[in-house]
């Protein structure tokens, strides 16, 4: 076994264990932390495939931003852990049935020609000057520019929708208006009175 294989099996095993923990841990905070570990080990696998841009972007976006917000929400929940243990047996049967189509779907994709190991034999190690970030950038902004722009448009709409949702009701917060605060002058607040003896 070469060193690379050792690293691969290490990360792959870690990904599987972390993924299983996400669904099996009772405490939602622990599950979220397991998900972060899962992202990390996946990033490690991608680094092994010399896709350093994808690996770092996964850590930057998902671990650095998305999961922080996730943790923020999950920590605020006041969940009774005993409660979550109830009714597991009832769900189990339904869950088992639901996994069958998923296993079939994943199996079909993995068995397709694209994922056959024999079709990967042509992949050689790139030389030292190969820059994965540059390659992805060139592809995104030339061949796939239309798809890239559509994806960003969808994200923009989602951002606007999320902000619009918070504006549905009339403004009820008691947050002070900063412009008013900044424009306050001394004379608005202080009145000097000459007290005569």
């Amino acid at each position: 076994m070469t060193f690379e294989q050792l690293v691969f099996y290490g990360f792959a095993g870690l990904t599987l264990v972390a993924g299983l923990s996400v669904v099996s841990l009772r405490n939602p905070v622990h599950a979220a932390l397991a998900l972060i570990l899962c992202f990390f080990s996946t990033a490690g696998l991608w680094l092994l495939m010399e896709a350093e841009f994808l690996a770092i972007a996964l850590v930057l976006v998902y671990v650095g931003a998305v999961m922080v917000l996730f943790m923020f929400v999950v920590m605020m929940l006041d969940i009774n852990i005993e409660e979550t243990k109830k009714g597991f047996g009832k769900i189990l049967l339904v869950a088992m049935i639901l996994t069958i189509p998923m296993v079939v779907a994943v199996g079909t994709v993995m068995n397709s020609n694209f994922f056959k190991t024999s079709s990967f034999s042509y992949i050689a190690r790139e030389d030292v000057n190969y820059n994965n970030t540059r390659e992805i950038g060139l592809k995104l902004f030339t061949d796939y520019i239309l798809l890239f722009e559509i994806a960003s448009l969808i994200l923009l709409v989602a951002i606007i929708a999320a902000i619009a949702l918070t504006l549905r009701t009339s403004r009820q917060t008691k947050a002070p208006n900063v412009d008013d605060q900044v424009s306050v002058r001394r004379d608005d607040r202080v009145k000097l009175i000459d007290v005569k003896e």
Binding site: L33, E52, I56, G64, F72, M75, M76, T133
Partner: protein, 365 residues
């Protein structure tokens, strides 16, 4: 005289590194190549981390001295000559104290949180170039790597706040999470400006593209001035330093996320905060202040310039702490989202136009 001395020091460092490397490879020549390479890398990591930890210790001393003089006091002057042994005494005190684990705390997460806070601030140093040859790993996505790692430090704080099973700690963690997510966006956009100007994600190439016959005025702080200011302020916010230290907020929530920590576990949070300060200062120096380049083209470049710039930014950190009162929480959010974010986006448009139309003197080539 002083200039010649500085040049001599930087030459000695270079010669010394080469000598040590030769000696190392000869002494361990009987081992297989992979093991020598691993040992050599570990030696390099130690050569970065040990001086870093020593500087952390003495920045705490510098902080107390500088803030002391700003407030017309003397600062610590009892332990050792003029107080120079104070940080060592502090470290010994913290080492010998008991690590208390609060009731109902998650023991594993409680103890791993300080490690999670410190590790990213050390790992980020791998990509920082000290010189045109001295760098641990000159990876071609260095900027992204550093940005990804600086965004991970928040987990130490969040997990510490949650695992402590304390309301104050939890409030600190919540504040910190929201604050870091907000300021990371402005920070990321400021870095996008740098990478547009340099045309590269590698930190070494970013520095060499700032090299011009303009010297000091050719560095990126000049064309990217708003981004430079925003990056450094966001850096102060990201390290939870005053005036953005709401996650500690000792006058509001006792000590925030580390209220339940004692002894060495507490000391690790302290180390992480100061290591992060040095990291942010080094990154600002590398990205906007030309790293190892000298401000006047006729004077040779060298690692001493980088150290000088880092010291200057570290001094700014301490100066801020002694000068500004703590921001109110909603003001922090407003500054991040409503002021920094629009300015960075505007300046990215400006800088893209400047690069496309080759505006002199910075982008003429």
């Amino acid at each position: 005289m002083a200039r010649a001395l500085v040049c001599l020091v930087s030459k000695v460092i270079h010669k010394g590194v080469i000598l040590i490397k030769d000696f190392f490879f000869q002494a361990f020549g009987f081992l297989p190549d992979e093991i020598i390479f691993t040992l050599w890398t570990i030696t390099k990591i130690a050569a970065i981390c040990v001086p870093l930890m020593a500087s952390v210790a003495y920045i705490t001393f510098a902080e107390r001295k500088i803030i002391g003089y700003i407030q017309a006091r003397v600062g610590p002057n009892r332990v050792g000559p003029k107080g120079w042994l104070q940080p060592i005494a502090d470290a010994l005190k913290l080492l010998t104290k008991e690590v208390i684990i609060p009731n109902g705390a998650n023991k594993f997460l409680f103890l791993s949180a300080p490690v999670l806070a410190l590790a990213p601030s050390l790992a980020a140093w791998a990509a920082i170039p000290f010189d045109d040859q001295l760098v641990l790993a000159d990876i071609n996505a260095g900027l992204l790597y550093v940005l990804a790692l600086t965004s991970l430090g928040v987990y130490g704080i969040i997990i510490a706040g949650w695992a402590s099973n304390s309301k104050y700690a939890f409030l600190g963690a919540m504040r910190s999470a929201a604050q870091i997510v907000s300021y990371e966006i402005a920070m990321g956009f400021a870095l996008v400006g740098v990478l547009i100007a340099a045309g590269s994600l590698s930190l070494g190439e970013i520095i060499s593209s700032q090299d011009s016959n303009l010297g000091f005025f050719g560095w990126y702080w000049a064309p990217l001035f708003p981004l430079f200011v925003i990056y450094f302020i966001s850096g102060v916010a990201e390290t939870n330093r005053a005036p953005f230290d709401v996650s500690e907020g000792e006058s509001e929530i006792v000590a925030g996320f580390h209220v339940e920590y004692a002894g060495m576990a507490f000391a690790l949070f302290f180390l992480a905060e100061y290591a992060n300060m040095i990291l942010i200062s080094a990154l600002t120096a590398v990205l906007f202040m030309g790293g190892w380049l000298s401000p006047i083209p006729s004077i040779p470049d060298g690692i001493h310039w980088l150290l000088l710039k880092v010291s200057f930014f570290l001094f700014l950190f301490l100066w801020f702490r002694a000068t500004f009162p703590r921001y109110r929480y909603d003001q922090i959010m407003r500054l991040g989202w409503k002021i920094f974010l629009p300015i960075t986006i505007l300046w990215i448009v400006v800088i893209s136009a400047a690069v496309v139309y080759k505006i002199p003197p910075w982008f003429s080539s």
